[in-house]
């Protein structure tokens, strides 16, 4: 059985959805032009992951093997549709920005991957934790990539924060340099690929640094 520590480490770092598994790249690359967009999609994905992992784990005892995948897809699609509707009701302006990417969460392989690879074989507690940690790992990468591209592309941070946190958050917006001319490449899709590559390099570099006290890490086989 996997311990809480291992689950958290897996989700946040060593088996990170975006940096290691390289799953869910379509929404990841498409929406991360600003921090706020990244966080918005990250939160929606996180909620989906926690709920789908929990439900899949709850029904793992009696779901019939032959129809397991269609059932998982059904669960995920229902959750995402409910999130989309709630978002339209509660955060309409954010929905206008992220709208077309929300339904895409259904096709995010990370979610069906966690349902099939982890939640369907583990009790509810660890499954929910796995969803939370995997979702957080994804959220952090989305936010970092969004921040990187926003600073380089527009020279700002937290533009449109009011869409998510209310009018008071407008003051959150940081303008690093008002005369910054902008760097188009970072905003356009290629910038997303470069940005993600930079983050992956940074993670691998951190992993490969010589450790001061060598730890014995037994590789955890992951079937996704």
């Amino acid at each position: 059985m996997t311990t809480k520590r291992e689950i958290s480490r897996n989700g946040l770092w060593s088996n990170n959805v975006a940096l290691v598994q390289l799953l869910g790249l379509c929404p990841l690359l498409a929406v991360t032009s600003t921090v706020v967009n990244g966080i918005g999609l990250g939160i929606a994905t996180l909620i989906t992951l926690v709920l789908s992992n929990t439900i899949v784990s709850l029904i793992r005892g009696f779901v019939r093997n032959e129809v397991r995948l269609p059932v998982f897809v059904l669960i995920i699609a229902s959750i995402v549709t409910i999130i989309e509707l709630s978002m339209q009701a509660l955060f309409y302006d954010l929905y206008l920005v992220l709208g077309i990417f929300i339904p895409l969460i259904v096709t995010n392989c990370a979610i069906i991957g966690r349902a099939e690879g982890f939640a369907s074989r583990n009790p509810v507690g660890p499954a929910a934790l796995d969803g939370l940690m995997m979702g957080l790992g994804f959220l952090v990468v989305l936010a970092l990539l969004g921040g990187l591209r926003e600073i380089i592309g527009f020279g700002t941070l937290f533009t449109n924060a009011e869409l998510m946190f209310g009018e008071g958050a407008q003051s959150l917006k940081l303008e690093i340099n008002p005369d910054y001319p902008g760097f188009l490449l970072a905003v356009l899709p290629p910038g997303a690929f470069f940005g993600l590559a930079i983050l992956i390099v940074a993670k691998n570099w951190l992993d490969l640094r010589p450790q001061e006290k060598p730890e014995i890490i037994s590789p955890v086989p992951e079937s996704v």
Binding site: S33, R64, E66, L74, Y92
Partner: protein, 206 residues
């Protein structure tokens, strides 16, 4: 063996349909409980867009409800029926706000709201939806640049029809550095909307 298989298939089928029913019910319940809020949000955004074109004290009717369905028209750039909003003050027509489309943007269609006063002057223009290049063509968005405000007050008499072009084509309207196609498309669409209004003004206000 065959009998067992059939039983398995049946059970799986029932199991799957059960989940479909539960899933659909939950989605339907959410839809039911959020639809009023969503419709209100959509209305608020629409009103915000419409009031951005027309000062509030110029009208006293419920402009979001005072609409007319227009058939597809080449001058409006529409392939389908579109809606025109009518502003009135004390029952008298003040202005019409068209949903028009610039079909020839750099990256496809640019959807516009074009407000026209009864005398044919432009109340204002806003871009509602577009896919132009960020940092270049997206300067047609009010959030990115004030360019679109230049239309307010213009009409088919000012500038003259042949000056309804971007400067590079010998007209009166600025283009953007590095992006001529987008403003050219928007200028043409606004001019065409004015022409459409000129030809159909009576029909629009009955």
């Amino acid at each position: 063996m065959i009998a067992i298989n059939r039983r398995q298939i049946l059970l799986s089928g029932i199991f799957l349909s059960l989940f479909a029913v539960v899933g659909t019910t939950l989605v339907a319940l959410t839809e039911y409980s959020t639809s009023a809020a969503i419709a209100e949000n959509e209305r608020q955004v629409l009103l915000r867009n419409l009031y951005a074109l027309l000062p509030r004290d110029r009208l006293d009717n419920d402009i979001a409800a005072d609409t007319l369905q227009l058939p597809a028209a080449a001058l409006l750039g529409t392939d389908d029926a579109s809606i025109v909003y009518r502003a009135r003050l004390g029952g008298e027509p003040v202005a019409a706000i068209f949903n028009s489309v610039a079909p020839d943007g750099y990256n496809g269609k640019i959807h516009l709201l074009v407000g026209v006063y009864i005398d044919g002057r432009l109340a204002g223009v806003r871009v509602v939806k577009h896919a132009e290049t960020p940092g270049l063509g997206d300067a047609v968005e009010i959030r990115k640049s004030p360019w679109i405000k230049d239309f307010a007050g213009k009409s088919l008499a000012n500038p003259t029809p042949e000056r309804w072009r971007v400067k590079r084509d010998g007209g009166d309207f600025d283009q953007f550095t590095g992006a001529t196609i987008t403003p050219r498309a928007v200028v043409a669409a606004v001019r065409n909307t004015l022409l459409y209004y000129q030809q159909n003004a009576d029909m629009i206000f009955n």
